[in-house]
Symmetry: C2
Subunit: 369 residues, 2 copies
């Protein structure tokens, strides 16, 4: 595929780490929440192998926070998600589909409960802050809504635990998955969660004090040499192999959470109040007609810039391929597709036309690994 | 400045014209409303000269529409903007600042009144649809809100009038600035407005029938040879010289409409109901403390990727440069800056540090030309 430059401007905001990653060899960007998000440091496949063995530091400041605080904050956050947050605890992260009144997905953030009256919604790439403001104004809620000055960087990969222990001591290894706490470095306190956009393990550092965050960023590279630390970014191959969904790529406002396999994050059976609840009950009763599944294609490269139709032997459309990459693990192309109900059987044959050539493949379960 | 590639994916949506502009020589993209927006076809300066003399066709499908229809649609649209729409007319476009309850700018769209109960909000780069949905749900409005299948392409430049007359006949030359009507081509009806992201004159074609739109796109290139038609895109130099503001670049949610010079689009003196009205009254009473102005710098190139501090002789910050380019007209760099009240005097001296070098310049009025 031909390469095109990104035309930078103030509207595509840089992060505090941008000048560093540009010295460290970033080669491609995507845009996420109106911000630069690194997409490659040279070969994505080399970076994938490194991520699965060692440790990487990622500039993911584009994961913006929507801060909701005040007396009615819990009510507003619950109104936006079909996941029951009534028993949520301080210091925990919750993966929460945000849906509209028609049950269409608006975002799939991780919600951090700082305390009962203060929440951070760590968003995927849509302006959830505008939805929250509209709802708060319309409902006359007593809340404050803002985008705080938080620029996350992530430490990901199997050696991230050793690297972070070297800085923060044993305490950080006690942090459970999706737990967060505050940790000191050089006199500054950072909120750190055990989380991240990979399945290789690691941490996300929610930097509020920019200068202190940059010192920590630099320090991790300095002391991380023994763990073969490298700069990196969310890796297309690793995230698809692991079945980590990406809002806007794999699902969007035209899909509901059942169709995305989010059943365990949907609570329609108790009395919590959220948008789209009646619609979700209806959908559950009628059953869904499409859902996200994996596909494996008998080819060794692909570049997806939009949906591709998947067809049966008679050229009837049976699904839509939305993300895909060559998987070094399976030695073929794998992808995430929205499949019609008639074609949910595992190992179902399918075809797809790519640049004029017909390729064959099969349906499979998610995650791949 | 170093070039970085854009990492394409389904989330950064292509337009119906993407494959055409890639054959026609697009070299850089920006992202706008989660969509590819061409930013350069080779030299921006060459394209600027061509735009001011001839005619260009632009893929601006990234100008997405938020369609608001139904009984309460006029009430909702008015609630979102400080511009009085009570006397608005069908078939007219209105430039409308959208603000939140704190009078911070959310977007600066052009609003098209299709009829009393159907409006299109042709948005800048924020998810206004989420704000509208939140407000509608919270207020229990009887409205439908959706992003319709509309992919705009624009015909811009002084010869756009002759080119469009050749296709649509004399009728289209009667269209007034910011007026729109429906015009036939090859059996398909297109909404066409006399509007666009340049001050060189022209039209925007709101394509609902994709196939018919592509035929018109191709036809315009075919018959436009006598007018020296070329592919193009919103031009950084032309838009800055003309003082066309860009939301996210020149102003954002931290600015109010008075600070952006939108006084004539603010109606706080009658009884229309919109968000932020009380706040605007307060701001007017107290007076603003910063506003957008022009600056001219005694240098011959610049590349802006974020705000740059403008300082006085004693290095006190007096403003913030937000957009800038080399202007062939003025033979120096010009830019758009948010200036502190103490430094609104025309011809006021200022300094700015760019890549370590101190450059000098002066404050001036907007627009430049």
């Amino acid at each position: 595929m031909k390469n095109f430059s990104i035309a930078k401007s103030r509207r595509l905001r840089s992060t505090p780490y941008t000048s560093r990653i540009e010295e460290q060899g970033v080669t491609a960007y995507t845009i996420y929440n109106h911000m630069l998000l690194p997409a490659a440091f040279g070969s994505i496949e080399n970076s994938y192998h490194h991520l699965k063995e060692h440790v990487q530091i990622w500039d993911v400041a584009a994961e913006r926070q929507v801060e909701i605080s005040g007396k009615d904050s819990a009510e507003l956050v619950q109104l936006m998600t079909c996941r029951d947050l009534s028993k949520s605890k301080d210091g925990r992260c919750y993966y929460c589909p945000i849906i509209d009144d028609n049950a269409g997905l608006i975002n799939d953030p991780v919600v951090l409960r700082l305390n009962e009256n203060k929440w951070w919604i760590s968003i995927a790439d849509t302006d959830v802050i505008l939805f929250a403001k509209g709802l708060a104004i319309g409902n006359n809620f007593d809340v404050k809504i803002k985008e705080p000055n938080v620029d996350i960087f992530a430490v990901q990969g199997p050696k991230s635990f050793m690297l972070m222990e070297k800085v923060f001591g044993e305490k950080i290894t006690k942090l459970k998955f999706f737990g967060f706490d505050y940790f000191d470095f050089g006199g500054a306190k950072h909120l750190i969660a055990q989380s991240g956009w990979s399945k290789q393990g690691g941490y996300e550092i929610y930097v509020e004090n920019t200068e202190a965050g940059l010192k920590l960023y630099d320090h991790l590279f300095e002391i991380g040499k023994e763990f073969n630390v490298k700069p990196g970014c969310p890796n297309l191959i690793e995230r698809i192999e692991s079945g980590l969904l990406s809002h806007g790529n794999d699902m969007d406002n035209g899909d509901n959470p059942y169709e995305c396999g989010f059943d365990k994050y949907i609570n329609i059976d108790n009395d919590i109040n959220f948008l789209g609840k009646e619609k979700l009950k209806e959908i559950k009763l009628q059953g869904i007609k499409k859902k996200l599944m994996g596909v494996k294609l008998d080819i060794d490269k692909i570049s997806i810039t939009g949906s591709l139709d998947l067809t049966d032997q008679d050229s009837n459309v049976i699904g839509e391929l939305r993300s895909a990459c060559y998987s070094p693990h399976f030695k073929k192309v794998i992808g995430i597709a929205m499949m019609k109900k008639s074609h949910w059987d595992i190992d179902q044959d399918l075809k797809v036309k790519i640049n004029g050539d017909i390729c064959s493949g099969k349906v499979c379960d998610l995650p791949f690994i």
